[in-house]
């Protein structure tokens, strides 16, 4: 994955160099580490979470790479990667289509991903996607966040993420219906636009069969975590 990011970025650099003059719509790249955070809660001692995206492309057409990895005590518990073609469909929205791969938990799961990403009225940043999995599994995910500016640099970001599934998938601990909700609030300070350390609280709750599967594994289905991390991009 790392190699892929590097390859994409190299592509962008050479394209820019080839362009020679200044283009109105140059190929650009952006790496966004939205969360690189340490979490500590009752059921999630010393968890490390990475939520990072990268894109390469022009104003209206981009290739996106999205990753989310959770590690607990040197073991990767969850790892997901999405590779998406992103196309602007309206002033504030991009449609994204591609492939999602869950490397952890085992066994692997592959999905067709179809989503929209953009800014809703009231400046709410949204990422909503449907996933169609191998055995007819259908999943939906909604992620929304808002930046509340306390000062020009001190920013409070409430965030909600919800996941739904059409079927139980006991092997991966996934239950049908509303599977889980994560509510977070993070207070960050933008030392630079590109770099903001933050502190926050995350509340993760599993529902229905997902909760039952977790409890069978001896995990809790309801966890409040303190988080500390950094957000950066370039």
């Amino acid at each position: 994955m790392k190699k892929l990011i590097i390859a994409l970025m190299m592509g962008a650099v050479s394209n820019l160099a080839l362009a020679g003059g200044v283009e109105d719509d140059p190929v650009l790249t952006k790496l966004i580490v939205d969360k690189l955070e340490y979490r500590n809660g009752e059921d999630s001692d010393h968890m490390l979470l990475i939520d990072a995206d990268a894109w390469i492309g022009r104003d209206l057409h981009k290739l996106w790479l999205k990753t989310e990895v959770e590690r607990v005590e040197a073991a990767t518990e969850e790892a997901e990667v999405q590779l998406l073609y992103s196309r602007a469909i309206s002033p504030f929205w991009d449609a994204q289509i591609g492939w999602r791969h869950d490397a952890r938990p085992r066994p692997n799961r592959d999905w067709l991903a179809l989503g929209v990403k953009g800014t809703a009225p009231y400046l709410i940043e949204m990422d909503a996607a449907l996933f169609y999995g191998e055995s007819g599994q259908l999943a939906a995910r909604l992620d929304a966040e808002y930046e509340y500016m306390i000062t020009q640099r001190l920013v409070l970001i409430p965030e909600i993420e919800m996941n739904f599934h059409s079927k139980n998938d006991e092997a991966t601990g996934t239950g049908s219906g509303l599977s889980n909700i994560a509510l977070g609030i993070r207070l960050g300070y933008e030392i630079k636009r590109e770099f903001a350390p933050y502190l926050g609280i995350n509340w993760a709750k599993k529902f229905g069969d997902t909760a039952d599967f977790a409890e069978e594994e001896g995990e809790s289905s309801d966890d409040v975590q303190f988080v500390a991390g950094v957000r950066f991009w370039f």
């Binding site: 820019l16 160099a17 003059g21 200044v22 283009e23 109105d24 719509d25 140059p26 650009l28 952006k30 104003d59 209206l60 602007a88 469909i89 309206s90 002033p91 504030f92 929205w93 800014t119 809703a120 009225p121 009231y122 400046l123 509340y148 500016m149 306390i150 000062t151 020009q152 640099r153 636009r193 991009w233």
Partner: protein, 639 residues
């Protein structure tokens, strides 16, 4: 790329914010002496004198030059080792020759801004006839007759070289004496310097369009609004902005966060100094050579008499302050009556910084530097909404009705633009509920009244300034356009956001009247409507929703007279510059149309001007904000 490879790397110097914005004392160019940054810092002499070249033949060399404005050594693009480039002093009806040598490692060019000349001499690579830029180590000879007089400027039309210092003044002495007298004149060239590579600035704007905006409304503003207006009114006031996903503080794309504002190449820490003797009349030739910055200029303690705009004489008008858009020029006369110093204060229109200078009888004297004005909020008028249809807009804050068209209000003293009864304080946003604007049926006001009322001349021959229904082309719909003005108005006597009702007499376009009558000008043969469009978040800019790369040239007929109307479908000011031909701006009285080369189209506004199509060939027609220009651009072909 040129900028990347040539930039001097940061040397681990930590800068206080103050130094960065204010600049480094005694910074600037080191005049080709090859001084390193350390010896530059030790230089005790301020480089104040702007070199002036006179005559009919000029040798100009474009080259890289070490500079230090902020404490960090950087490489600028200069001409003859000077930033700004040397002032060229021409004489009307001379023929001038400029041999321009490019010592850069990339292509360059010089465009003579506002000069009427043959297309081949206009200096826009790929558009001017037979001109593809000046290749590295090549010399291009420009030669043309000078058929005008006044204050103009020149700059690169290649890459983002304007941002890195490639600009200078042109002063053309008239054949006939000027219609005013003065004892001395100074060029006052305003610009914006960044230590960043302009390509990086552009990339950052594309990745995060509000990257440089550190004047957003925050928690404290919200609490204050709630306290003053209540929760419901606060919610309603902000509703439209929230629903449109726009910032009411979207005042400038690039700000003092990265810019150090310069006056004649001097940082605010140094300031430029001009000397005078008490009782003298001084002509100040203001030129905005910034890449992205509009400046609001005033000289506390002095009235300024505006005598020319864009190099062309206007009927003298006395003001306290004027806003100068990118690429515009204004000539003003001041007459200090005392032996004291005065500050030339040029704050950026988004209030993120300023350039400054001092007019003084004695170099050891200085004058206080005013504080920056409060950061204003954009109004509904700036969104192309003159009045409101929505039911959610009751209890409207009058900041959203700053009467851009103050003159349309019956019984309002618009002449001085002071509107005393409305002039509560400098803070426009805090005037909630002082006036119940809903009682005024603004939609039914006869906009035709404005010019005649304003001009007060019985012979006034106004244009049609009615706000006709606006039509947006199909190409304006799509992911590349985030806003369309549904009710754009002529706002000629609107001084602009941040200057409305500030207690000072601020110049507006409605004040500009040609010194000579234009009543013999032909009526327009046809009208063209051009919409300025964009998507702020995606940082894409276009005209009629089509960027330059995808657009066919505008085809104009030699000899025709056009009326061009701009509709601004964005929240930004766009200084629109037509090469090769004058823009005769409709400011109210068509018997006295002022001539301009650059016309500011205010956010959400409409404006019209007339063009006599008398210059065959290909011409550039574009927004002069350097990071908008690539898309918001048209080639004009006159045949």
């Amino acid at each position: 790329m040129y900028f990347n490879s040539r930039n001097v790397k940061k040397g681990g110097i930590s800068l206080s914010r103050r130094r960065f914005v204010q600049g480094l004392a005694m910074g600037g160019t080191c005049a080709g002496l090859g001084l390193g940054p350390s010896s530059l810092l030790a230089t005790s002499m301020k480089r104040q004198e702007q070199p002036t070249l006179r005559g009919t033949a000029f040798d100009l060399t474009i080259a890289e030059q070490p500079v230090n404005f902020t404490g960090v050594p950087r490489i600028a693009t200069t001409i003859n080792g000077s930033l700004p480039a040397p002032t060229l002093r021409w004489r009307e009806s001379d023929s001038v020759t400029m041999r321009v040598t490019n010592k850069l490692s990339e292509s360059s060019s010089i465009h003579w801004h506002g000069i009427i000349l043959p297309s081949a001499m206009d200096g826009v690579p790929g558009i001017a006839e037979g001109f593809n830029g000046i290749a590295p180590d090549e010399t291009f000879t420009y030669q043309f007759p000078v058929i005008q007089s006044g204050t103009y400027w020149y700059h690169s039309h290649s890459a983002f070289q304007e941002q890195t210092g490639h600009y200078g003044a042109i002063v053309i002495d008239p054949k006939e004496p000027e219609p005013y007298t003065y004892d001395r004149d100074y060029v006052v060239m305003l610009s914006d310097w960044t230590d960043e590579d302009p390509l990086d600035v552009y990339a950052k704007l594309k990745k995060l369009s509000h990257y440089y905006n550190f004047n957003e409304r925050t928690h404290a503003d919200l609490m204050r609004d709630i306290q003053e207006k209540g929760v419901e009114n606060t919610w309603n006031d902000r509703k439209m902005w929230n629903q449109m996903r726009m910032s009411q503080r979207d005042l400038a794309d690039v700000t003092g966060y990265t810019y150090t504002y310069l006056m004649n190449g001097q940082t605010p820490a140094d300031g430029w100094t001009g000397l005078f003797k008490k009782g003298e009349k001084i002509l100040l030739r203001f030129i905005n050579a910034a890449a992205m910055t509009f400046f609001d200029l005033r000289i506390p303690g002095l009235k300024m008499t505006v005598v020319a705009a864009d190099g062309q004489y206007v009927q003298p008008v006395s003001v306290d302050e004027f806003r100068i858009g990118v690429a515009e020029t204004y000539d003003v006369i001041v007459e200090p009556q005392s032996d004291s110093a005065y500050t030339l204060f040029a704050q950026s229109s988004d209030r993120s910084g300023y350039a400054r200078g001092t007019l003084t009888p004695d170099p050891s004297l200085s004058a206080p530097i005013p504080k920056l004005d409060p950061v204003p909020d954009l109004s509904h008028a700036d969104m192309g909404m003159m009045h409101h249809h929505g039911s959610g807009m009751t209890g409207m804050d009058h900041s959203q009705h700053q009467m851009p068209d103050g003159s349309t209000m019956q019984g309002t003293d618009h002449a001085g633009h002071q509107m005393p009864e409305m002039d509560h304080s400098q803070h426009e946003a805090s005037q909630a509920n002082q006036m119940d604007m809903d009682d005024m049926d603004m939609g039914d006001m006869d906009m035709n009244d404005m010019p005649s009322e304003h001009a007060g001349h019985t012979t006034s021959n106004p244009s049609d300034f009615s706000a006709r229904a606006v039509h947006h082309a199909a190409t304006e719909y799509g992911p590349h356009v985030d806003m369309r003005s549904d009710n754009p108005q002529y706002r000629l006597d609107d001084p602009g956001v941040g200057l409305r009702n500030n207690g000072r007499r601020v110049l507006t376009y409605a004040d500009l009247r040609n010194l000579k009558t234009t009543s013999d000008h032909p009526e327009p043969d046809r009208e063209i409507e051009l919409h300025l469009t964009g998507n702020m978040g995606r940082y894409m800019w276009s005209i009629n929703g089509v960027k330059h790369a995808d657009a066919d040239p505008l085809q104009w007929k030699l000899g025709e007279r056009l009326r061009i109307t701009f509709i601004n479908d964005t929240m930004m000011n766009h200084p629109m510059h037509l090469h090769g031909m004058w823009s005769d701006l409709e400011t109210g009285d068509n018997n006295y149309l002022p001539r301009k080369h650059t016309v500011v189209v205010q956010p959400g506004a409409r404006i019209s001007y007339r063009v006599t199509v008398d210059a065959p060939g290909a011409w550039a027609y574009h927004c002069h904000l350097v990071y908008h220009m690539l898309g918001m651009f048209r080639t004009v072909v006159v045949s």
